[in-house]
């Protein structure tokens, strides 16, 4: 430091004014908070009906919001990390509502809340068991041979594997923020991006085995903490600055709380499936190399012969774009389209600009392939 002068010149009157404004903001926020009721922060409120259930897995059919324009129904498949409710966070930020309003007949599979009792479930069970059953049920309900799939993140890996194993039952596949090349983070090697990839590779396979042996599953709170590390200062400032910024604005505050609700609802990942996810995919990168197997069958990406729309977020710090884009060189169809959207991993679904582009982009792409 030099003696050339003080680098901070906050005028007393300005500081007093800011402090007073902050005090008013907190008071208004506290009043607003005291009046809030649970139903005001409800998420995933788009009406739907349960049409099938097996073990903890349920398949829901959304009630239409407009005349059907796309003939083939579409199944939304989220992963086991987080929950599908992200796609229907709130009325004005809902991929589900956007697609329904654009005339798409929509289903969603909810994997439920896996517990320690579900430790032995594998990705094979989810892909070739439950997901296959969902496709069958939808096909039977509509008396059709093929349905369209919309995979999100880990759910996109499920749909990719399913589509490669059962291409004759898939009309079209839409992937969103889906990792295919799990070492693709090294392409850009961007600071703050791909931490899960780096962190997982820093572990030894036996570390993961022992973790699952000890806990029986990959605890939801554990994955939550890993995600928090990816945005370090935001995590640190979240409840004392970010929340203060919005707490006197009802709309913004409710948005904040709904997002918090989704973040807090983080199910455990079944243990054996977690081992495959972390070791076979994140560490050994088997999917892009056509070396991943499901029920003893090789997942050959070249068998994906249906049209594919691959949506990724240009600023996705969890699934860096290159990890998704790698699919293009591997699929067996020439009808492969990429849709890069502005924003980050979750922003694709809830960001003002992206979520509108996402719904209309999917609907347009599907309508051109009826």
């Amino acid at each position: 430091m030099t003696n050339s002068g003080a680098p901070i010149h906050i005028k007393p009157e300005q500081a007093i004014s800011e402090a007073a404004a902050l005090g008013e903001k907190i008071a208004r926020g506290a009043e607003l908070f005291s009046k809030l009721r649970d139903n005001e922060v409800a998420i995933a409120t788009t009406p739907k009906d349960e049409v099938w259930r097996q073990d903890k897995v349920t398949l829901h059919h959304y009630r239409p919001l407009a005349d059907t324009k796309i003939a083939t129904p579409m199944l939304i498949v989220y992963g086991l990390i987080g929950r599908y409710t992200m796609a229907d966070l709130q009325e004005d930020r809902s991929l589900v509502r956007n697609l329904l309003n654009l005339g798409i007949d929509l289903y969603v599979v909810d994997w439920g809340n896996p517990s320690r009792a579900d430790r032995w479930l594998t990705l094979d069970d989810y892909i070739d068991g439950y997901l296959a059953e969902c496709v069958r049920v939808i096909s039977e309900r509509h008396r059709i041979d093929k349905v369209s799939l919309l995979g999100i993140c880990e759910g996109g890996v499920f749909t990719t594997c399913y589509a490669a194993l059962h291409p004759d039952t898939v009309k079209a596949m839409v992937l969103t923020i889906t990792p295919i090349d799990f070492h693709g983070d090294t392409v850009e090697n961007r600071l703050g991006h791909g931490f899960i990839n780096i962190w997982t590779r820093s572990l030894k396979p036996e570390d993961i085995d022992r973790l699952i042996e000890a806990y029986g599953n990959l605890p939801g709170e554990f994955m939550g903490s890993v995600f928090s590390q990816m945005t370090p200062m935001r995590t640190l400032m979240k409840y004392n600055l970010d929340m203060l910024e919005v707490m006197d604005d009802e709309k913004k505050f409710l948005n904040f709380l709904r997002m918090e609700k989704w973040i807090a609802d983080r199910p455990h990942h079944p243990g054996e499936a977690a081992k495959q996810w972390l070791k076979d995919l994140y560490q050994d990168n088997k999917l892009i190399n056509n070396a991943f197997t499901v029920n003893g069958r090789q997942v050959d990406l070249g068998n994906i012969t249906m049209p594919v729309l691959n949506v990724f977020a240009k600023d996705d710090h969890i699934i860096p774009p290159a990890t998704s884009q790698a699919l293009g060189a591997k699929v067996g169809t020439k009808d492969y389209t990429e849709l890069p959207l502005p924003g980050g991993h979750v922003g694709v679904f809830v960001g003002g600009k992206s979520q509108a582009l996402l719904g209309s982009g999917i609907a347009k792409w599907l309508s051109e392939r009826q």
């Binding site: 430091m1 680098p7 049409v51 049920v137 039977e140 008396r143 600071l191 806990y215 590390q229």
Partner: protein, 290 residues
Amino acid sequence: MQALTELWSRGGKDFAAAQHGTSFDIASRLATATGQEGAPGSAPVTFFDLQGMTKANEAFAKLWSSAIELSQTVTRNAQQGKKQDPLVTDLLGKVFDPRAWFSSMDGMDQALQRMAEGPRLADLWDTERKMLNVFNAWTALRQRSLEHNTVMLDAWLKAAGKFAKDLNETADRKEALGSWRELLALWVETANTALLETQRSDAYLKSQREILKASTDLRLAQQEIAAFYSEMFGYPTRAELDDVHRTVTELRRELRALQRANRDAPKAARQPPKGSRKQPTQAGPNRNTP
């Protein structure tokens, strides 16, 4: 700024003293309780790594001293020549408190510790060799945690040093930050970059991995105790329950396969007509739970 300096000094001193005192308190109590020997006929028991813990403590304390020194430098110069503003002091006190980086940034460490720490240590003193294993695992986790905090403190020092340098350069340019938000924005940007760079470092990844391993070891050692008492009192152990769950999962898997085979056989024979889409045939739930 006086308050900020005192806050850091007091916090650092308390933190280091607590870590140091805990180690020796545990050591003396454990020595009294166990005599450092395993049960007759059992495998030798390794006493916990007091030397390693002390070393980790020393590394941490050394860095902490540097942090305090740096904080005092920033404190002296940040509002130089001006009347100290209590609001600024309070803001800086919260923003630049390095302890926040231990409690909030190492979220995984916290999460793992919460998950692993079922029974409290105080409940374990009257037990035998298995208990000592738990204690050793607990101590190892504390040591790993301290080592991780040392990595984080090093990152904080780098961030604070960069922040001080930037402030200094601002002053050299005869400029000044005119609002809290500007000050905060500079710190957030500086700290975020330092943290993200740290997260990619071998030291950080290694300490995270060691914490994960230590946490897992503790959990498994605790499960050994639980299994011991479960067997003693005739309750099912975790391993037995896992076996049952495995069997149930495999049976469900076989049932699904059989259902599919039964369903597909007549369908293949009938070959139902394909073609135009029709409306769903049923509205109610189609329960198919084995």
